[in-house]
């Protein structure tokens, strides 16, 4: 980009009308997305987008713990499980309870945050690899508990999982059934899309606000140098526990929605592999950068599904299917991850801070920083 172009772009970026227009277009795109996708690609794709939104919430939660505070957590999916099981137990025939969703979700967030503190407390002195091992253990413990809590009292229904979970319903309007009003039919997955979108946007908003706050800076300070952070008066214990709790609460909400959406959950959904996938999302997208994390979550949920078309592609180019697309797709997916990490080690959309870490181009830096803060003017 030539400087004049860049200037024009900068100008555009700050022009009020452009900003409003951008928001408007984004709003319309997001509002119409399920209908367009459903018509063009089929309804199964709306379901995939719904899952992508759940993963965005999860990834943004993990981003607080790993991206901001620098605490490598490999058991993060346990908080998702806590949220999911809380919803399942309170809104299913399992105990005959049918609580409303607006009561369960905040409770899920709180209980998951409590579990976050429970995990954080014994690991306060650990960092890096050691912390990763302990959190990995924690994730497994939660999963094993869920698998075995069917005796002596049957709480979780063990490996069979809990089924017939109530769909999310808002004001007597059940998202589990196809609804129609004003001549528009709204299938279940479409309705869930709007709910998940709203909550994802809320979580994005919270993440943005936290990032540039006193607490956000304290998290980054701990990531950079914990001893110095303590020596500057940061109560590292509380601030780290807060990071665990915040991250876990996002997962708690996401988990609850997952249970209501799916109607069935079992311990199988909360394996170590899931924790790793969520970690992949933030590393691939760009740790610490909200846009990057969202992109990572979208790519990692959608790309493997898109690769199912590899069979059709082979049919088209060779006249027959040479390799089973199901074998091929994870291979291609893995390869893609490796290539991305080789060429963009800081992630696809690295945070400003991390981009600086990996390469320091002074001229670019000063411009970025000038637009980041306006403290001097």
């Amino acid at each position: 980009m030539t400087p004049s172009w860049r200037r024009r772009w900068q100008h555009l970026k700050h022009d009020r009308r452009t900003v409003i227009a951008t928001w408007l277009v984004m709003g319309i795109v997001l509002a119409l997305l399920p209908f367009v996708t459903g018509d063009l690609l089929g309804r199964s794709w709306v379901r995939i987008i719904d899952f992508a939104l759940l993963y965005i919430m999860l990834a943004l939660g993990l981003n607080i713990v790993v991206g901001y505070a620098g605490l490598l957590d490999l058991g993060y999916i346990a908080f998702y499980a806590v949220g999911a099981y809380l919803y399942a137990l309170l809104a299913s025939p399992q105990f005959g309870m049918h609580w409303p969703v607006w009561a369960i979700l905040p409770m899920g967030a709180t209980v998951a945050a409590g579990f976050g503190v429970l995990l954080g407390a014994p690991t306060l002195k650990l960092r890096g690899d050691y912390l990763a091992i302990v959190t990995l253990g924690f994730g497994e413990i939660v999963r094993i508990f869920l698998t075995n809590l069917n005796t002596p009292i049957n709480i979780t229904n063990g490996p069979q999982g809990i089924s017939l979970i109530d769909p999310v319903s808002i004001g007597g309007f059940s998202l589990g059934e196809t609804q129609s009003f004003l001549g528009i039919t709204l299938p279940s997955t479409y309705a869930y899309y709007y709910l998940f979108l709203a909550l994802s946007l809320a979580i994005v908003f919270i993440s943005i606000r936290l990032q540039d706050s006193r607490i956000g800076r304290a998290w980054v300070a701990i990531r950079e140098d914990e001893v110095a952070a303590a020596a500057m008066g940061i109560n590292t214990r509380n601030v780290k526990l807060l990071a665990f709790a915040m991250g876990a609460s996002f997962a708690g909400v996401s988990g609850g929605l997952f249970a209501g959406f799916q109607g069935f959950i079992s311990p199988e959904s909360f394996t170590l592999f899931e924790s790793v996938i969520v970690l992949c999302m933030i590393v691939l997208g760009g740790m610490g950068n909200i846009a990057g994390v969202v992109l990572g979550a979208l790519l990692i949920t959608i790309f493997p599904e898109a690769l199912r078309y590899l069979g059709d592609l082979q049919q088209l180019s060779f006249g027959r299917v040479l390799v089973d697309p199901n074998d091929l797709r994870l291979l291609v997916f893995g390869l893609a991850l490796v290539i991305v990490m080789l060429f963009r080690p800081a992630g696809l959309l690295p945070s400003v801070r991390r981009r600086r870490e990996f390469s320091a181009d002074e001229s670019v830096l000063s411009q970025e920083q000038a637009s980041l803060y306006d403290t001097r003017r």
Binding site: L210, R214, G216, R217, V220, A231, M232, I234, R356, E362
Partner: protein, 274 residues
């Protein structure tokens, strides 16, 4: 930087007190590492408004004493007080809360944060905004954030690196990093500022301007506890000083007295210094 604002501190009253009042007292502190007595019954009293030097050969226990004072280490016996407040047994972050801030011998900045952000982290202990404030960004939080940014910039100007506001700490020149560490410590509104070899690795002209900065800090009412190897700096700057050798305090007094002390000359300075 020359016409920078006077340093306003939250504890300005401390400077107004009679200069003979001890703000920081170390009483009979001992610290052993295995069989090694790193500190043996060390006592000191730092008076308000002075620069107090702590010198001694390598391994004399200076940094150990520093770490005991700032509560990174727990002493085996003895105690440290800041005015009436007992610091021994406190957590490191409480020590800062009570008004004692430090810098490190090997610079420990938040390398991937800007100079401004580094100093803003120093303000953490004097500010309150929590998660809810951050999310809602209410008037109180906004005002606090603004005041924080303003104060941080003021301090950067004060220590003479105001033009590097948005530079990453790790990209700054060595001498500037030292200054940034001082600015970050000042951001906590300390009663006593503890500097661990601030001139280490500096060239003579950088050392010179550091001396100017420290003198100005003193005249603006900050009490300074200083570990230093650079004799010219220590002798020229300190009001009083203590000499450690093998974990014991072997002398204390004004630079003029200390440099004539026979034990000091033997232990540390060598015969040729006087």
């Amino acid at each position: 930087m020359t016409h920078a604002a006077k340093l306003p501190t939250a504890h300005a009253d401390a400077a107004g007190n009679s200069s003979a009042a001890a703000v920081l007292t170390v009483e009979n502190v001992s610290k052993h590492f295995g069989g090694l007595a790193a500190l043996d019954q060390v006592s000191l009293a730092v008076n308000a408004g002075e620069i107090f030097g702590l010198i001694g050969p390598n391994g004399a226990g200076k940094t150990t004493l520093f770490n005991v004072i700032t509560a990174l280490y727990v002493p085996d016996s003895g105690c440290v007080r800041l005015r009436a407040q007992m610091l021994t047994g406190c957590k490191p972050h409480d020590v800062v809360q009570h008004g004692l801030a430090r810098t490190f011998q090997n610079i420990r900045l938040f390398a991937n944060m800007t100079a401004l952000e580094n100093v803003m982290v120093g303000r953490h202990v004097r500010t309150k905004a929590g998660v809810l404030g951050a999310i809602l960004r209410d008037h109180t939080t906004q005002a606090e954030e603004q005041a924080m940014t303003h104060r941080a910039q003021e301090l950067l100007d004060y220590v003479g690196i105001g033009r590097h506001t948005h530079q990453l700490a790790r990209n700054m020149a060595y001498g500037d990093q030292r200054r940034l560490e001082i600015a970050r410590a000042l951001a906590t509104d300390p009663v006593v500022l503890a500097l661990d070899e601030p001139a280490a690795g500096m060239n003579p002209s950088e050392t010179e301007s550091l001396m100017t900065l420290l003198t100005r800090l003193r005249s603006d009412g900050t009490t300074i506890l200083l570990i230093e190897h650079d004799m010219r700096l220590v002798m020229g700057l300190c009001d009083r000083m203590a000499v450690l050798d093998y974990g014991k305090k072997i002398a204390q007094g004004t630079p003029a007295v200390v440099r004539r002390d026979a034990r000091v000359i033997e232990a540390y300075l060598g015969g040729g210094f006087v």
